[in-house]
């Protein structure tokens, strides 16, 4: 197992203490809530799509440093991106935290997401990192209706 300092890199600690894009989107924003019944952690993602672009995204949640930093860094990585690109990135992030990307594939990811590569060494924490992305995916798919993502 990697040391905990490799898991809790300074970028993750920073985003845990000061999450970016934290709060709600008003108006006709799409919304989805993610919930991990095993630990009780939760995350709600609001987003607005304009044309083919994810124009804005914000989140609120209660959770550990990994989940909060993951949500914060996710919003920065996807905001203003084409929806198709966001969907592809969601898949690649999941592969990253489950240890299924090659070194080269990891380095092709945005730098701020690469800090989660060590999560794969901590299997019980994978869901913490991936929950915000599952919730984002649900919000994108769910249209205007709130959707509950139950993670097992």
């Amino acid at each position: 197992m990697s040391s905990v300092s490799e898991l809790y890199q300074s970028v993750i600690l920073d985003h845990n203490r000061t999450p970016r894009n934290y709060g709600r989107l008003e108006g006709d924003a799409r919304r989805a809530r993610g919930y991990n019944p095993l630990c009780g952690d939760e995350c709600t993602v609001w987003l607005k799509v304009e044309g083919d672009t994810l124009a804005d995204v914000r989140f609120e949640g209660q959770g550990c440093a990994i989940s909060k930093a993951s949500a914060s860094l996710m919003t920065m990585a996807v905001k203003g991106k084409p929806v198709a690109e966001v969907e592809a990135l969601t898949e690649r992030f999941h592969s990253l935290v489950t240890g299924r990307l090659t070194e080269a594939e990891q380095q092709a990811l945005p730098a701020r997401l690469q800090v989660f590569s060590n999560v794969a060494q901590f299997p019980v924490r994978v869901k913490c990192a991936s929950m915000p992305w599952h919730t984002l995916k649900a919000a994108l798919a769910g249209g205007d209706a709130p959707e509950l993502v139950e993670l097992k």
Binding site: V4, G40, A65
Partner: protein, 411 residues
């Protein structure tokens, strides 16, 4: 003249638990999660091995000696358990898979036959989900209602609030003896008196208490008492439901199958007498045999010395962890045992759990299967260290150092 408190030789106790001399991530294992499951002494491990190597046979069936011997061992375990909890009769001791199954058995066998629309089941706000959900299931089937007695800020049962919930419709009071999430010891004897005065039955969840408090079901005065083997130094998958014989006799069977029948005809069947009526199918024979040895292990220790040792550990942890800046202790009941639940400002319990794990320290982080209680304290999760007879002050010191490390890293 003062009585001398016997001192527990913890080194000798620890030497009986092989897992305590292993390492986790290259560090000596510091096991502080005995409320989840206790570690197993060598005697229990050896007993299971011997059973499977030399004594294995199905019970109540064979005409051969091996089967008769296995049956005798299974029955001997039941007798040992009856003595351990001071049951009036061995017929009152039902083997189950654990506390959860014991509660479900009562909820279904008693509840399904007894509850009517509008009847009430009173639990407390500090129950484990396993003493809430089985009642919700049967309540939904029968149109009954589950109500929860309040808990005060110290994590104690609010007896006045409890009393006001008792009424003509109260049929069952289901209460935890020793809270897994807070360590609170509930006044179960008083609860039983109040419940009986209101005409209700009482089930006590003894999952935690069986390993930490002397259990005398007759003295408590409850009607049902449930506990698990694996929290009592025994194997997983074996547990006990104790019930008053007169009640168990009137209850219909819960599960049907072999061993629980008198005679079977396609037109209808009759049931075996207690305890077989509630033990359909081949039971966890090795588990029962192992639980016998586990109880012998615990009973073989000086009970006064064990109590003094565990009291000292909790007091030390309370002081040592409670004095760390930013730590909030959850559950400060006057009557408390074996559990230290806490939060650390700026450090989520799961992150604390990960940091501690890297140093070989095992704690529980989460809602402890007690979400209503977490909500009561405005929390989603806490960190929980729980102690057993094999823990030491050194373990508490390691925990304190780990909490400080997590604070440096994360807060």
């Amino acid at each position: 003249m003062t009585a001398t408190v016997p001192v527990l030789d913890v080194g000798l106790v620890r030497a009986q638990f092989p897992i305590l001399s292993t390492t986790a991530h290259g560090r000596p294992l510091v096991y502080l999660d005995s409320a989840a499951t206790t570690q197993k002494p060598q005697s229990v491990v050896d007993r299971l091995t011997r059973y499977y190597e030399r004594e294995n046979a199905n019970i109540h069936r064979g005409v051969y000696a091996l089967s008769a011997d296995a049956t005798a061992m299974y029955d001997a375990s039941r007798a040992r358990i009856a003595r351990f909890i001071n049951a009036g009769s061995e017929r009152e001791v039902i083997f189950t898979r654990g506390t959860t199954e014991s509660v479900n058995l009562v909820a279904q066998a008693w509840g399904h036959a007894t509850l009517r629309t509008g009847d009430e089941i009173v639990v407390t706000a500090m129950e484990h989900h396993s003493n809430i959900v089985p009642w919700q299931l049967v309540a939904a089937q029968r149109g009954a209602v589950v109500r929860a007695a309040p808990v005060n800020d110290a994590g104690e049962l609010d007896l006045e609030g409890f009393r006001t919930l008792l009424g003509k419709r109260t049929r069952m009071v289901a209460v935890v003896h020793l809270s897994n999430a807070l360590g609170t010891i509930n006044p179960v004897k008083q609860v039983a008196e109040l419940a009986h005065a209101a005409g209700a039955l009482v089930l006590v969840d003894g999952a935690q208490s069986a390993a930490h408090l002397p259990i005398d079901v007759q003295d408590i005065g409850c009607d049902f008492f449930a506990f698990s083997g694996h929290k009592l130094f025994g194997p997983t998958g074996i547990g006990v439901l104790w019930g008053r014989e007169s009640l168990l006799d009137r209850m219909p069977p819960w599960q049907g199958g072999g061993d629980m029948i008198g005679t079977v005809a396609v037109e209808g069947s009759t049931w075996a007498p207690l305890p077989a009526k509630f033990e359909a199918g081949t039971p966890h024979i090795a588990g029962a045999v192992g639980l016998h040895t586990a109880i012998d292990f615990l009973a073989g220790l000086d009970q006064g010395a064990v109590a003094a040792h565990e009291h000292d550990l909790l007091a030390y942890a309370n002081e040592r962890i409670g004095s760390i800046a930013g730590v909030r202790l959850i559950g400060t009941a006057r009557e408390k045992a074996s559990v230290l639940s806490f939060t650390v400002e700026g450090v989520h319990p799961h992150d604390l759990g990960t940091v501690l794990d890297a140093d070989g320290i095992c704690i529980r982080a989460g809602h402890h299967c007690a979400q209503p209680l977490m909500r009561r304290f405005g929390l989603v999760a806490t960190a929980r260290a729980s102690f057993s007879v094999y823990n030491t002050r050194d373990d508490v010191d390691a925990l304190a150092a780990g909490v400080a490390k997590a604070k440096r890293l994360l807060a």
